[in-house]
């Protein structure tokens, strides 16, 4: 016997879909009568119907007024992990290359300078827009700023759905202290879902609320209007096998 068959009711039983439609009063009287007649003689369906009807008396969570929960995460970006180990490698990389390489990364109109690094099979490389990455790669941003700065990284997938990449435990932009080539405190290990993604970098002079920004990015895509006091740039990356 297939163990999953333990989840099935009897062959003549009524599905949850039909019972939910009955409870919601969506179906015609004749069909409703037939379902109730079956339930009257079938303990399994009778109990299930009573269960679904009783559930309607339980209070539901309030429906929020925000466009979307700000804690939504883009699955494409997978796992956020502490950046400690990668930060040390990036520091070595930056110290080695500073001065004899053209400056990479993305400058956000004088407010901050963000750079993206990709670690692939233990090898670290700086990344730019158009970067091809692979499942299992680790992404890490660093930033430079001569004053306190509030940072966030949002993402926009190929279907135009926005989500928050960083910070992953706050609904407001993260405060970064002044410094050069400082790693953001989280890096991300990419999962196996392939595709193209925009990483939208945001640097602000205050701790902006990210929920309305997420809604605006969702609505307008990369042509979005970010708030006064902020700068934004976009890095496109593409994940391939």
């Amino acid at each position: 016997m297939n163990p999953l068959d333990h989840l099935r009711r009897g062959d003549g039983c009524v599905s949850d879909l039909a019972l939910d439609r009955l409870v919601a009063r969506e179906i015609e009287a004749v069909e409703a009568d037939a379902i109730r007649a079956h339930a009257a003689g079938c303990a399994v369906c009778r109990d299930r119907l009573l269960e679904l009807e009783a559930a309607c008396d339980h209070p539901l969570p309030a429906l929020p007024r925000a466009a979307r929960p700000a804690t939504r995460r883009r699955r494409w970006l997978a796992v956020a992990v502490p950046a400690v180990a990668l930060a040390a490698a990036i520091l070595l990389f930056v110290m080695r290359d500073r001065g004899d390489q053209p400056e990479g990364g993305t400058r956000l109109k004088g407010r901050a300078h963000l750079s993206l690094f990709v670690s692939h099979d233990g090898e670290l490389r700086p990344a730019a827009s158009g970067e091809v990455v692979a499942p299992g790669d680790r992404l890490q941003f660093t930033y430079s700023s001569d004053r306190p700065i509030f940072l966030a990284v949002l993402s926009l997938d190929g279907g135009g759905h926005a989500s928050i990449y960083f910070p992953d435990d706050d609904r407001r932009a993260w405060r970064g202290e002044p410094g050069a080539d400082l790693p953001l405190p989280r890096s991300t290990i990419l999962d196996e879902v392939l595709g193209r993604e925009a990483l939208v970098l945001l640097a602000c002079d205050r701790a902006v609320d990210l929920a309305p920004l997420l809604a605006e990015l969702d609505r307008a895509g990369t042509g979005w209007r970010f708030p006064p006091g902020c700068s934004s740039e976009t890095i496109w990356i593409e994940k391939r096998p």
């Binding site: 163990p3 989840l7 939910d20 919601a24 679904l52 969570p61 929960p69």
Partner: protein, 161 residues
């Protein structure tokens, strides 16, 4: 179709319980289920045109909820966490075979192609017939049977272990 906040609230009151219950069943996690509940209804407020009125609102919400939940299961972080929680979420049960089957199903869902996973949800969790699934998926009942057979063949070593 236009949908104002009051209309959405009314739909939410009537259908929210079913969405929450199904998300809880599929994900095995109360908090994740509540997030899905909000995403489903706020998504409907943002883009009411996604409900084309070619089916009942219950049927539409079944489809949306299923796909949102399956998308979450593809997230590697959720996958590992949900698998850890799957046993706990079923808890000590008076139906140990059913609890075990739920754990197996959760394991399968995270690794199945989306179409097969959706069919598995409708068949095993919602108790739908092939005809009901076919109507919901826009395919033939024969195709539903084929997808279930393929799923069983793909994971025969798992489900018979």
């Amino acid at each position: 179709m236009s949908l104002d906040r009051d209309s959405l609230e009314q739909i939410y009151r009537v259908h929210g319980h079913a969405v929450l219950r199904r998300a809880r069943q599929i994900l095995g996690d109360e908090q994740e289920a509540k997030e899905i509940l909000q995403e489903v209804f706020l998504g409907l407020l943002d883009r009411p045109e996604q409900f084309k009125r070619d089916s009942s609102i219950t049927t539409f919400l079944y489809s949306v909820t299923t796909h949102m939940c399956l998308n979450r299961l593809r997230n590697a972080r959720n996958r590992s966490r949900l698998l850890d929680q799957a046993g706990a979420s079923t808890g000590p049960s008076s139906q140990p075979a059913r609890a075990e089957a739920l754990v197996v199903l959760h394991q399968l869902l995270s690794g199945l192609p989306q179409e097969e996973a959706a069919v598995a949800v409708y068949y095993y969790l919602d108790g739908m017939t092939h005809a009901e699934i076919a109507a919901l998926q826009g395919c033939s009942p024969r195709q539903v049977g084929y997808l279930l057979e393929r799923m069983h063949a793909r994971f025969a070593p798992v489900v018979t272990a």
